[in-house]
Amino acid sequence: MGIADRLIEDVGLRGGVSKLTPEQIQKTVNAVISGETGAKLKAYAETCMRCGLCAQACHFSQSHPDDPSYTPAAKVQATMGVLLKTGGKVSPEFIYGMAQLAYTECNLCRRCVHYCPIGIDTGYIMSTVRRICHKLGVTPQYIQDTAHSHSATFNQMWVKDDEWTDTLMWQEDEAREEFPGLRIPLDKEGADIYYSVIAPEPKFRTQLIYQAAAIMHAAGVDWTMPSEPGWDNSDMCMFTGDFEMMGRLKRKHFESAQKLKVKRIVMGECGHAFRSVYDMGNRWVAWKMYPVPVIHSIEFFWELMKQGKIKLAKKYPGPVTVHDPCNVVRGRGHHEKLRELVRFLVDGPIIETASNREHNICCTAGGGVINCGPPFKNVRLDGSKAKAEELRATGVKTIVAPCHNCHGGLEDTVHRYKLDMHIKFLGDIIYECMEKPS
């Protein structure tokens, strides 16, 4: 039992580990622990009572009921615990397992917070382990590639500057067929709203940009999108542990909005990017809160609904269930707005999963886990059994999930556990049901 028994080959982890020496490991571990951590980590390490209450919190341990090594406290013990105990005197092979565990067996979802009487933040500890892995150069290949893309292009998917604007123009052209006069206003100074997305949208899911433009158009919103880098709000560097790049990305994103003197940033249906703007990235930069308010799509659509700016031609046939993305619900308390909005859009009840609202179970894709790519797909899907069972128990056909990562993860889960459900973004439903001005 334990990570050493379930190692998976990955080019990034193997390549990184092959260059390590024990001295270098020790130096790096201690540099991070003494340089970047303090009372928080120390108190967590010391006061964890090993009570095991958190075992039931984690979908990984729920999905592996016979394997206690997935318990949050066990994962901490197997990684940070060992580093602290040995003072970083560990082998390269240990680092391999530690990295695999930290990057692929914890979604940093913080569900365990609701179970730990002490108030230990396992997500923070795992982030710190990842930080050490990053500093050691031991990161899974695919997520590292997205981090490289971020550093070179300021977006997650190697989208080049021209491809971005070209895609927006293409979507604008397409949308004009349906909505004559529709614009995706580029670089419009002083707009109320700066709409930002994540790179998979221009790369694979262009219909989301189309839908967003359609909704903005129908609602008569004064909005803009930037034509230059800064448009991608996503942040895989936050998850690889490359905090310097995380800060650089946030600076770029916010300065892009500040330059245009917009009032607010509205971001597409993405969870992790949201965590990065209000919780992690901003802090590295020394902004206590985001310098430009960032409104998640859930809240934005909710506002449009409240202001009567979305008019429905029909309602979406229910019942549905709602998947609460960790970073916007446990991370930002948007669960009731989400439900109000879904009730407005859907004809029929919301059938809740057993764990809902702040207590939701993670889709198992979050925290960069899905971005670790094909080698770890089964780790992820084995871990999502608990989620799958809760979803199956609702008996409905539609999952509303306002987060890209959750979408990707839940699609795989639905497929693997033969749930016969489909997954919808809020934007999908609004676009489908709204009155379309001609």
Partner: protein
């Protein structure tokens, strides 16, 4: 060239465009832009029969284009847009398209003290710059973050020197990025390069570089400083001495380094956007003395007034006046001058401008749906639907205000003393 000295500084108001009605053949008008001297106002227009044109002072360009975007005035008052013709993109300057055209074009740049106009281009999947219609001889796998020297005679961009296979993290780590100056890449390659910047004469280029995943430094003309840092931000040349100054991070705190030597001890939670007075004697930067508290430091000394966010730092010629903006929640904006916040609190404020003589400060501000200008702390008597950044006359006595109100575009020259 058309420097401010030659503009019309006669006090009073002139209507530049009396009617902003949409002409009949126009499906929609986009956003208005106004020339620096306030004499020309331009807007891109989508035509009913398809295609785009620009209306400059109400007159359409001679020939329409399939598409037009990125509308910008050059410092000397030419109106430019990136336009599409026969599916290819080029730049139109006052309606005249460059002869060369490209698969895509973006990010129009103007030489601050010259006439050159440049833009980033992509042609057949290769990337580079095109300056006044002349494309770099060598094009690259990718090129971004382009800049022009002050006189526009030199250009630079971050370029990708080799193709990367999908998810090839090892190749990336070997370093495939560099800086190309006038199309010619440095001999050195890096994991990342950012924000290339020219010196005052356009002879040298400095950029941020990442040597590996963790070590950052500054490279000047391809040569890396000996020192490495936990992180760096944009390097800038001292205009008088030619030395390179960049914010650097050591042990989690930020300071400034000059040619690799620390000149501001790293004791800030943040430090960026350093600027020099043109005489090179003063440096100001936006800093965070404590977490969540931003201000401006001048020559290493931080102002007492702090805001959650500080932006738009400017400094006057001899460094006697330093101004910036502070805000809370991106909503309550104040103009900060020499360590003091002006009393007015605005919904939004724009980059302050400082007169070259006399140390006057003015900024565009807005409240609700109305915009105006504040000069030396007082709001201008009139509000507008839209106003553009103000400009001081070279003697610092007059202020040019360009605004749109009640359906017309006006150009006002006000006496600073009475504004």
């Amino acid at each position: 060239m058309h420097p401010p000295a030659l503009w019309d500084w006669e006090s009073g108001q002139r209507v530049i465009l009396a009617s902003m009605e949409r002409p009949e053949n126009v499906a929609w008008l986009e956003e208005y832009h106004i020339s620096p001297d306030g004499e020309r106002v331009a807007v891109l227009a989508s035509l009913e029969e398809g295609g785009f044109t620009a209306l400059v002072n109400g007159e359409a360009w001679e020939n329409p284009f399939e598409k037009a975007w990125c509308p910008r005035f050059s410092p000397d008052g030419r109106f430019t847009a990136i336009v599409q013709q026969d599916g290819m993109w080029t730049l139109a300057v006052d309606g005249e398209a460059w002869e060369e055209s490209f698969d895509f074009m973006w990010s129009t740049q103007f030489a601050p003290e010259g006439e050159a106009i440049a833009a980033c281009i992509q042609s057949g999947g290769e990337y580079g710059l095109c300056i006044d219609g002349v494309t770099w001889e060598t094009l690259y796998e990718n090129a971004s973050q382009c800049v022009l020297s002050a006189d526009g005679k030199a250009s630079a961009a971050v370029v990708q020197l080799a193709q990367l296979k999908p998810a090839d993290i090892e190749a990336f780590k070997k370093g495939v990025y560099g800086v190309a100056v006038n199309g010619q890449s440095w001999d050195a390659n890096f994991m990342n390069c950012w924000t290339p910047a020219f010196d005052a004469k356009g002879e040298h280029v400095a950029a941020q570089v990442r040597l590996n995943l963790y070590d950052y430094s500054i490279a000047v003309d391809g040569k890396t400083w000996n020192e490495i840092y936990g992180c760096v931000w944009e390097p800038r040349f001292n205009p008088a001495t030619g030395k390179v100054v960049a914010p650097v991070r050591l042990n989690g705190r930020w300071g400034l380094a000059q040619d690799g030597q620390i000149i501001w001890e790293p004791r800030f939670g943040q430090c960026w956007q350093q600027i020099f007075s043109p005489d090179g004697k003063n440096i100001a930067a936006i800093v965070a003395p404590d977490f969540g508290k931003f201000t401006v430091a001048v020559n290493g000394k931080a102002w007492g007034v702090t805001f959650p966010v500080v932006t738009d730092l400017v400094i006057c010629r001899e460094g006697a006046t330093v101004a910036a903006l502070g805000c809370v929640d991106n909503a309550d904006w104040q103009v900060l001058v020499n360590g003091r916040a002006w009393a007015g609190v605005w919904d939004m404020a724009w980059k302050p401008v400082i007169s070259q003589v006399g140390g006057h400060v003015a900024a565009k501000v807005s409240k609700g749906k109305r915009q105006t200008i504040v000069v030396d702390g007082r709001a201008f008597a009139r509000e507008f639907d839209q106003v553009f950044d103000p400009t001081f006359s070279p003697d610092g006595k007059k202020l040019l205000i360009r605004g749109i109100d009640k359906g017309s575009v006006v150009r006002i020259v006000a006496d600073v003393a009475q504004a």
